[in-house]
Symmetry: D2
Subunit: 350 residues, 4 copies
């Protein structure tokens, strides 16, 4: 990115945004004084208390530095090395983590499944769960991982989760949710966090925060608390037990205070919806798939793509198939940013 890039023109991901002012303030406050390390501080206790309120039950919380760590640690606690993780073929854990799940699990196998909008198809799940189960010649189906929201910006509905969860749990498999964009899903659905997770059987949730306002802190929310001790050992061993844990905790604490997490996500979703609205009016634009949260896929004429790039816009294109582009909004995207983008598309399209 050249130094002259107008950073308001970056729509490549929600990880290009900075951090919410509330987060920075909390970190600044946390910097003063001494406190016990490794999570024995008061702010870390506060985070656990807040999470328990939000999820309407006692939960344990592990604070980690990346979403990849949250996912990989969770999967390691849910599958033996000879197990398999059933996930969507387009999922982040399958494509974008350089084998972090395989590393942390000591070699478990990810079994990719199909389904529209990057959501797992229930029939494919049922078939995969039965495939060679109990046969030592094959990895053992052990855990199902749902991505909420999905990689394509769709959101599993409450009913879809309550269909898939029981399929897994009744067959004895464990259930993980990769919630890198969980806030966006909750904001989109208007359902309680509880009913979108543990009430459908979710054992461990990767509770994403970095894409939605924190700096370098994500969390694992532990519904099955029998896993907490194991996760603590695994986290230390993975280099994920921060000595000055208060700084992770301060980020999460502010993130959960006064619904900042839902306000940020709601804003990001609204910006994507506004962009969708703006693009809908342009006949040359083909909108693709469900855009329930803050990710929008569409098909653009090549001259539009080239025009936008020439304008300094940053976004993924031609990665899925020719002419398909992805725009991502964030808590930091402004209405003006969105309107300028829609106008630019319109200008190049005609």
């Amino acid at each position: 990115m050249s130094t002259t890039t107008d950073t308001a023109r970056i729509f490549s991901s929600d990880n290009t945004a900075g951090a919410s002012p509330e987060i920075i303030d909390a970190v600044t406050r946390a910097a003063a004084g001494q406190t016990l390390p490794y999570g024995a501080d008061g702010i870390t206790a506060d985070v656990r208390r807040r999470m328990s309120e939000i999820f309407e039950r006692d939960v344990d919380v592990l604070l980690v530095s990346t979403g990849s760590a949250a996912n990989a640690l969770s999967l390691a606690a849910l599958t033996p090395p000879w197990g398999s993780v059933l996930c969507h073929r387009d999922s982040h854990i399958n494509n974008d983590e350089c084998g972090a799940p395989e590393f942390y699990t000591a070699g478990a196998k990810l079994v990719p499944l199909g389904g529209d909008d990057a959501k797992i198809d229930p029939d494919e799940l049922r078939a995969a769960m039965r495939h060679k189960a109990g046969d030592v010649h094959s990895v053992e189906p052990s855990v199902v991982s749902l991505t909420q929201a999905t990689e394509t910006g769709a959101v599993y509905t409450r009913d879809e989760i309550h269909t898939l969860g029981p399929i897994a749990k009744e067959a004895g498999l464990r259930l993980h949710m990769d919630g890198a964009r969980f806030a966006g899903a909750v904001a989109a659905l208007g359902r309680t966090p509880a009913e979108l997770t543990w009430r459908a059987g979710v054992d461990l949730l990767s509770f994403g925060a970095t894409k939605n306002g924190t700096m370098t802190a994500d969390a694992i929310v532990v519904f099955d608390r029998s896993l907490t001790a194991e996760l603590a050992f695994r986290a230390k061993r993975a280099g994920q037990l921060a000595s000055k844990m208060r700084f992770h905790a301060a980020q999460l604490d502010a993130y959960l205070t006064d619904d900042l997490w839902l306000r940020n996500a709601g804003h990001a979703n609204a910006m994507a919806a506004r962009l969708q609205e703006g693009l809908k009016a342009i006949p040359e634009v083909g909108l693709l798939g469900a855009a329930d949260a803050n990710i929008l896929f569409c098909r653009l004429p090549q001259r539009v793509i080239e025009g936008l790039l020439a304008d300094g816009y940053v976004f993924y294109h031609d990665r899925w198939e020719p002419g398909v582009v992805r725009f991502v909004t964030s808590f930091a995207t402004t209405e003006e940013d969105v309107d300028h983008l829609a106008q630019a598309v319109g200008r190049h399209a005609t």
Copy 2:
């Protein structure tokens, strides 16, 4: 720690301190605007430039969230799974990382060596390097890891490093330095970072920062740049590639600016020296070992230990042998904190 603890009485570790104001300011500044993720931002580039200046050669830098991650990633890049890591028996990697090196290396073995003040004895090193080398029945000696400063607060002199380094390198082994307290060692020795590292053969340096002023950011300094690509894959796979890398980078950038790292470490060392001076005057106190940096071991009568605990002092005691205590100072320790502690010891001793 009860809420009524006077936090100025915590001497258990340097990880109980918060963060330097300069670090917080840098993070605050970094929070605004959009930028490319995963280290493609300008601040990360600045850190690499600063490190190259400090070490007087082109280096690569990986920013990670903990010192354990820095050590484990480094060791994984330096030893095959069937290799061994020769380290002091009191080293952090051997005792305090819950097997992180074993995890990251896919099962390499740590071979503990002896030596005074937690420094590796050269003769023991030579013997261990030759032990069953080339014999497939035994793990293969592959890397030597030096801890600078050591776990007991001693510092390898320039000459000691230039003795041990060549022993390793001439035998074809790689050289790692666990510099969780590297700043303290440099401050204590008044030598250049270059001569204390790569000029003695160090391939990879875990460049600690969290104990000395940053919040949640440490670094690997890569002298053997042929390892950089491998380290990048390993870091991603370990969940250590932060998407909003600018926030790690901002911490390190401020840490390296205007010698903050050396000023902070120099202060911590001075506070330990001041404490040592204060305790020296008390006949009931037995000072133990070299206290070159910010860690001080001494032997105290049981009534003194009990008195300090009753005062609300927090420190490790009776962990090594009865009556042995450890005091650690940090960049945030004040002269007043130290003087109060020394006075309290004196008071309980008489």
Copy 3:
């Protein structure tokens, strides 16, 4: 299998056969006297010499106890943990080894490709090799694994291997061949072992023997001898360095003597061809795919399947799709066994 099963009616796999008399004789001879352990014996040296003759160049040989170990060790030496193994989706390493490759490689990923007759399609290979190469967010394409003969009994022709091999090697990937049924492929093609392997770029060959006459011994043939030392450490560490190696070696030595390996494989192939001939005459039988070696797939009416099962025949059926059955012949299958089976099919079909 009930005790009254006529074992001549087992057509489920070639691993249901026993061992060739020549193999047993060699093992019996090897049992006498003392000799040095771990492969320092004379018979192990003989095997290496014979393999070098057969492959027309100096090769190294590792003797292991299973084909899974041969494959997993080979792949571990050819890919880093963050690498990927490009293989056919129907390959044994992908489906039937319970994650042995993932275990031995410390978590590398198998990327399944398509292609007829379980042979990798060159275009799919090219696309997969390029997919996110060099991108730390994704596993790095590192090795291509060909199964010769394939899981469906087809054989890569000399030209197909010389197409696929260079595709891999020119892109810097390594080349592994799973030759669990390599003898059958060589026997079917009438080509030299050299031109079917290293002349097309194969670095390591899993040289299967157990399915074709030995008891419990397979081999890795090492064409890239720079990998030999690493393989030796890996084998020891994997529990694959037999102390009384002479007993593995005696099996392989007899197997390679007087072309026993090719005679056995040629016989197994001939029995499959004879069965194919016999079934071809039965209109109700639908022959499926290429049956180049000793595996025959066909479609049978349900009443035929049931009739054969009632007769005591043992074979896989309804595992791929309804009505599809697999018959496998071996060095121990007799013409009479085959003719009886064909007659039974004919009897039940009409």
Copy 4:
């Protein structure tokens, strides 16, 4: 070893012997006919029945190709990756398996303990078990591994095992026995296999056979049968599930028939005792340690060592300290071999 070596002069290990005739006969008989693979054959069932009789309770049995595999698989089933294995510092698992336990356990740590005759000292065990237990900064004490007979040829008495076992079990640790020379220990003690194993809390036993008469087959005897399913997956994944399992089984079956295992071991022990008797009469020989089984350590003058080597004797010397040599006898050692060796020592000593 030159081709002119008189193999009767090899005393370096019990793995230089061949195989018992009864074992070879059994393998020969097993070679005929077809049978189901992967342990579904009748001989494998027979082995399990025999083992259950010998150990006076229902046990499960896994047949593997090496003792290293037996040990590493057992330890992997008994410790989590963040656990530690408490073992004697001279144990085979700690020194001679190239990190196989670390590989199979995904990075657990071996904690070496002291004690005379390579037997674990109970007080050291108690201290190690308590060391940082429950502390996530350190590996968690998880399993104790006893080597019976020990690396120095001593044998834990019945009482010693019943002291150490309960120490481990009462603290919640698991108990493994490396019985590479278990037969020798049983033969030496005249106690039942049951009281030397599970009656003292042993969960898994590596039941060595290769050093005592089989070719390439050892076993894991599973007392805690809740581990059987996990072991089966782990074995497959490790390349240790032989397709033609009948050949491993035939070896073990013959080994257990008519007390061959105890007769062979008793003979080997008697040969070591005879050698000890012969050497005792030579004043220049210093016998060292307990020689309860088939391993004898002694101190010899340098001229004796040189004389024996010149005679073509093969044995380990100068590996522990100057002048210390080790002689190992086996089921195949004859009285004549032993007497010749003792005479040679006497000849060179005077």
